[in-house]
């Protein structure tokens, strides 16, 4: 889950890392008031969860409070990559002498967090790593031992920083590493971390992402920041169709029948489980099919949930038929899914044999499931028909004969 810059800066500030005297607002008049309080030239920064803000005109400079108001009004109305800004951040324009980068991420291969530090801040760290590898320091640290200052010192010193700068940077990097761990972040980045004319350091921009699985235990912080439980902060906001999918899944606690993502095709998919869904979605596309949606069934959902998911997909505008397919199931029961999807067709007044392009779920309780499908004339397949072959047959029913 990604934080807005104003939230990330607040997290950094709470961790004891110096920040500028910034203000956040959704209102242009209030932006003026913040600029008055700051009492000098300011920067107005759009608060959006997307990159390319500067290029799109989402960062503006203002010399007077009046100008700040005008610029804030402009930025508040500016959509960036389809994102409407949450508000603007009003920041004093800092007299910067040097820009640094400090970040902490997970290294999934080493299974430890790694600190990245560079004396070339303000640009993308991956770019610096490619063009100036000697300017990027890296240091892994233990998950079990408490984080120690010397670890921060080593990574800062590794790019050649020494003197008073080193001693001022160490506590900042230490606090960043600690906040990464304590707040279950997957990314904690200050870029740029700047040195001002008076020799002090401030975090001028921050980017934080928290692990979704840890939201429960970070509730207090999220509440303080005003992040609602309903805010998924996905790469794109959920569509009404996707929200309806969540409702289907939430109707009872047995298994999963949801994780719906909307696409614009004509073949509805009722597929599972995790890896099976990825495989089947690719398979449909490989044979020229156009999926209307992605979804996942797993963990033995109730008939009601399977039925609810099938109904949702069947009634999506533009959907001609549905394909019900999974990898071999051992926990989910074939007969329960069969009953659910047939019920969905019947309740909507459709002929299951017509609407279900193919049913390919082999595994637990398959004899019972296949009996139900046979009764309604639905084409079904056992494990002797591969997942890709099933997908091909489904596409063929919608588009006529196909080859990859």
């Amino acid at each position: 889950m990604r934080f807005f810059e104003y939230e990330a800066r607040e997290i950094v500030k709470r961790a004891g890392i110096p920040v500028t005297d910034f203000g956040f607002t959704k209102d242009a008049l209030e932006a003026k008031a913040i600029a008055e309080r700051i009492g000098g030239p300011v920067v107005i920064k759009s608060q959006v969860l997307t990159g390319g803000r500067m290029k799109a005109g989402g960062v503006q400079f203002a010399d007077t409070p009046e100008e700040a108001e005008a610029k804030a009004r402009e930025v508040l109305q500016l959509e960036i990559n389809g994102h409407v800004p949450r508000g603007v951040l009003v920041d004093p324009r800092a007299a910067v002498t040097q820009e640094y980068y400090a970040g902490v991420v997970w290294d999934g291969t080493r299974k430890q967090p790694v600190i990245l530090f560079s004396d070339m801040g303000g640009i993308d760290i991956e770019e610096v790593a490619e063009t100036h590898p000697d300017h990027v320091g890296r240091r892994h640290f233990s998950n079990l031992l408490p984080f120690a200052d010397f670890q921060a010192k080593e990574v800062v010193a590794s790019v050649g920083v020494t003197g008073p700068r080193l001693n001022r940077l160490v506590p900042i990097v230490t606090r960043l590493a600690r906040v990464f761990v304590e707040r279950d972040m997957t990314l904690a980045e200050i870029n740029p971390l700047v040195e001002l004319e008076d020799g002090s350091f401030v975090a001028l921009d921050a980017h934080m992402e928290m692990e979704n699985e840890a939201r429960g235990r970070q509730q207090a912080l999220l509440r303080d920041l005003g992040v609602g439980d309903e805010e998924t902060r996905q790469a794109r906001e959920a569509t009404p169709f996707e929200l309806a999918g969540e409702e289907v899944d939430a109707q009872d606690h047995r298994g999963v029948a949801g994780n719906v993502t909307e696409f614009d095709g004509d073949l509805g998919l009722v597929i599972g489980a995790g890896g099976g869904s990825l495989t089947l979605f690719d398979a449909v596309r490989k044979y020229g099919g156009r999926p209307a949606n992605y979804c996942e069934i797993g963990g033995n959902p109730s008939v009601a949930k399977a039925c609810g998911l099938a109904k949702l997909v069947l009634t999506k505008p533009g959907v001609d038929k549905i394909a019900v397919m999974m990898s071999i199931v051992s926990n989910t029961r074939v007969d329960i899914v069969a009953r659910g999807v047939v019920k969905a067709c019947l309740e909507l007044g459709f002929d299951p044999a017509e609407k279900i392009a193919i049913f390919r779920i082999p595994g637990a309780w398959e004899e019972e499931g296949f009996k139900i499908l046979e009764k309604y004339g639905v084409e079904y397949a056992d494990r002797s028909v591969s997942m890709h072959e099933a997908a091909r047959r489904a596409v063929e029913k919608v588009h006529g004969e196909v080859t990859a």
Binding site: L144, D184, T186, Y294, G363, A364
Partner: protein, 316 residues
């Protein structure tokens, strides 16, 4: 032979009184019993742990409050543990197992924050233990023993898995069975199949299991299921290039469509395209660069493997 577990393996189930754990216990006992590998105590499962439930039984398996009690009752070290407790309690359960001498921990639980997983893995490394998972279905040695829900009820597991020369490693539990069933239908049995879990950080990635398969005389080839997200395919490719592996590998990559949707996660928590190296196309190129055959469809895997096995025999 096999890797990780064999006919003599003993294990406990932590969280044994939960609904899924009760089923899993039944399945593992049945699988062992039907194969004639059930030990004197009635199966590979020598105990279960659920705090506050000491004195109960689950399908004849005695339940204890602590792992230490289970070890004491068993009268010696216990090899493994299947952990199926809620995410908030998993770290403690795994620490308890490791600190009581358990050397192989299969974590079934999903949705555990990465920090907890990383701590468990680091402790395991310090103690010489190994973690499989989290978010996995466990390990199966066909016709010998299964540890976890992999393959489901004994009769279903027997349909999909047969003994043979292929090691299977998969980031998806369900696809472990789908691929093994396809191999079985083509006459290629499995030495051991491991569902390694779908999370961003897992106890044992491909490259960490390769040395075990390499050392297993029964294993002649490896089949892997892989997805976008993470660096473990790059790690595998690097391992192959550094070691002169005798084992041909055939891979299947799912989730190609995700390359067009950066920042979004599908299927498993670990499948998110965050950088160029995470994409399906980049991974396929990297795997192929290391000499791994990448199948377009699951059904192509057996023929690709047979060709590689035959080719190797010719050159050997």
């Amino acid at each position: 032979m096999s890797i990780l577990i064999d006919a003599g393996t003993t294990f406990i189930v932590q969280g044994i009184t939960g609904r899924e754990a009760v089923n899993l216990t039944r399945e593992c006992l049945d699988y062992g019993a039907a194969r004639g590998t059930a030990g004197e105590a009635g199966g590979p499962i020598v105990g279960g742990v659920t705090p506050g439930r000491k004195g109960r039984e689950v399908h004849g398996v005695p339940v204890f409050d602590t792992v230490a009690q289970a070890v004491e009752h068993h009268g010696g070290p216990i090899d493994g543990s299947v952990v199926t407790v809620p995410p908030a309690f998993t770290k403690d359960a795994v620490f308890e197992a490791i600190e009581n001498g358990v050397k192989l921990v299969v974590i079934v639980t999903e949705r555990i924050p990465r920090r907890d997983v990383a701590q468990m893995v680091e402790l395991a490394t310090l103690r010489g233990a190994r973690i499989i998972g989290p978010n996995c279905l466990g390990i199966i040695v066909p016709d010998v023993v299964k540890m976890g829900g992999i393959g489901g009820p004994a009769k279903d597991a027997a349909k999909a898995y047969t003994p043979g020369p292929i090691g299977v490693i998969s980031r998806s539990g369900g696809m472990t069975t789908e691929m093994s069933s396809t191999l079985t239908a083509a006459g290629l049995g499995q030495s051991t199949a491991v569902s390694i879990g779908g999370d961003a950080i897992i106890g044992s990635a491909y490259a960490e299991l390769m040395p075990l398969f390499e050392a297993d005389p029964q294993t002649e080839g490896i089949v892997i299921y892989t997805e976008p997200g993470g660096r473990m395919e790059a790690q595998l490719a690097a391992w192959i290039e550094e070691h002169d592996s005798r084992l041909p590998i055939v891979a299947f990559m799912a989730g190609k469509f995700m390359d067009e949707m950066p920042g979004m996660s599908f299927g498993h928590a670990g499948t998110i395209v965050e950088g160029k190296e995470d994409t399906a196309s980049e991974k396929i190129a990297r795997l192929q660069g290391a000499g791994i055959a990448v199948a377009e469809e699951i059904s192509e895997i057996p023929d690709l493997m047979k060709a590689r096995l035959a080719g190797r025999e010719v050159t050997a």
